[in-house]
């Protein structure tokens, strides 16, 4: 898989609601389209996205063929402790890409 853009506030107050935005570079090829040779282009999509905050799942999503290329996901959580947010995207071939963003809670 490719690169991702992640926006997590570097600092937050304890108990504050923070917004997290992720943008993943991915073709999200549906598997229903035909290429120039007339054959079906094989499906290549992200099927699952999970975000954990210090080991606890705070957001997860299932993705399907009708979702746009380069999917953008934004969600909120409550800042509890300093630590790491771990993001993982899994595609339909079972490959997973993981990225981490630190967060400092005061």
């Amino acid at each position: 898989m490719a690169r991702a853009l992640i926006n997590v506030p570097a600092k937050a107050k304890r108990g504050e609601i923070i917004e997290i935005k992720t943008l993943m570079a991915h073709p999200m090829e549906t598997g229903f389209r035909t290429g120039v040779d007339g054959k079906l282009v094989p499906r290549d999509i992200i099927t699952q996205f999970v975000c954990t905050y210090n080991g606890e799942v705070v957001f997860s999503a299932e993705l399907f063929p009708a979702i746009t290329a380069n999917p953008f996901l934004a969600f909120t959580t409550i800042a509890t402790e300093s630590g790491a947010l771990v993001f993982s995207w899994t595609d339909n071939h079972g490959q997973t890409q993981v990225q981490t963003a630190p967060i400092h809670v005061e």
């Binding site: 690169r3 853009l5 992640i6 926006n7 935005k21 570079a25 746009t68 380069n70 953008f72």
Partner: protein
């Protein structure tokens, strides 16, 4: 006394700027798109064009060719060496005696200096590198070079702009000058200022060049598109950049 005079001068200059802005009826496509798409472009972490710029950034320092040189080996940090470059293109290339657009220059550099072979037009790598170089000029005013050798090409571009073509027999000017601000179906007709290329089009779900966009319009009028990298596209780009001179570069823009 001197200070008062100076502040009066500043106020006069500010008033002049404001006047110039009020007179400028040119609008970037950004001004007329929906607030959601505008927000998408404004913030780098939600702008999908930045994915292309990120890829370009890693390609910038990736070695290629027999000597294993990268863009960075000669040009160093792009943020310093490439600042304002995109605002000056297309420029005249002395070696080939014709104007070159930014993508053409990058591809030429890769072919002749790195000796890694030219990058195909509209390939992901070339679009990514062009986006990354274009990003270094974001916010700068478009400043077409005052090079007399470009004049005949720019004039040819101007002629192309108002030349009817295709089965529908439309010229660029008929939509983008005479009917700009109107609608074609549900889509707003923009004034066609190329301020944000390469840009991310939601319709394409990808980052693409001005040539891809022009090709799009030509197919719409049922004309046969010019070949990618063709001189006609570069002539048109020369004219469009002159027409948009002074407007700020937005690369990578987002458009519907």
């Amino acid at each position: 006394m001197w200070n008062e005079l100076r502040s009066a001068g500043v106020i006069a200059a500010l008033a002049l700027c404001a006047g110039a802005r009020a007179e400028d009826a040119r609008r970037s496509g950004f001004d007329d798109m929906g607030p959601g798409t505008q927000a998408m472009q404004r913030e780098d972490s939600s702008n999908p064009g930045m994915l292309s710029a990120l890829e370009g950034e890693s390609l910038w320092s990736a070695p290629a060719g027999p000597a294993q040189t990268s863009c960075a080996s000669c040009h160093g940090e792009a943020s310093a060496s490439m600042k304002g470059v995109a605002a000056r293109y297309p420029a005249f290339d002395t070696a080939s005696q014709r104007p070159l657009d930014l993508a053409g220059r990058i591809s030429q550099c890769r072919d002749q200096r790195q000796q890694a072979g030219p990058l195909p037009r509209e390939s992901r790598e070339l679009v990514a590198l062009t986006t990354y170089v274009g990003l270094q000029s974001r916010g700068q005013p478009i400043a077409p070079p005052e090079d007399a050798r470009l004049t005949p090409f720019r004039d040819a571009g101007k002629a192309l702009y108002s030349q009817r073509m295709g089965q529908l027999n439309f010229s660029c000017a008929q939509c983008h000058d005479e009917n700009a601000g109107g609608h074609l179906g549900a889509a707003l007709i923009p004034q066609a200022h190329p301020t944000g290329y390469p840009l991310y089009r939601l319709e394409w779900q990808a980052t693409g060049s001005l040539q891809r966009r022009l090709r799009n319009c030509m197919i719409g009028t049922r004309a046969e598109p010019f070949t990618y990298g063709g001189l006609e596209y570069i002539e048109l780009e020369l004219f469009l950049m002159q027409r948009a001179a002074g407007m700020a570069i937005e690369t990578p823009a987002v458009r519907p």
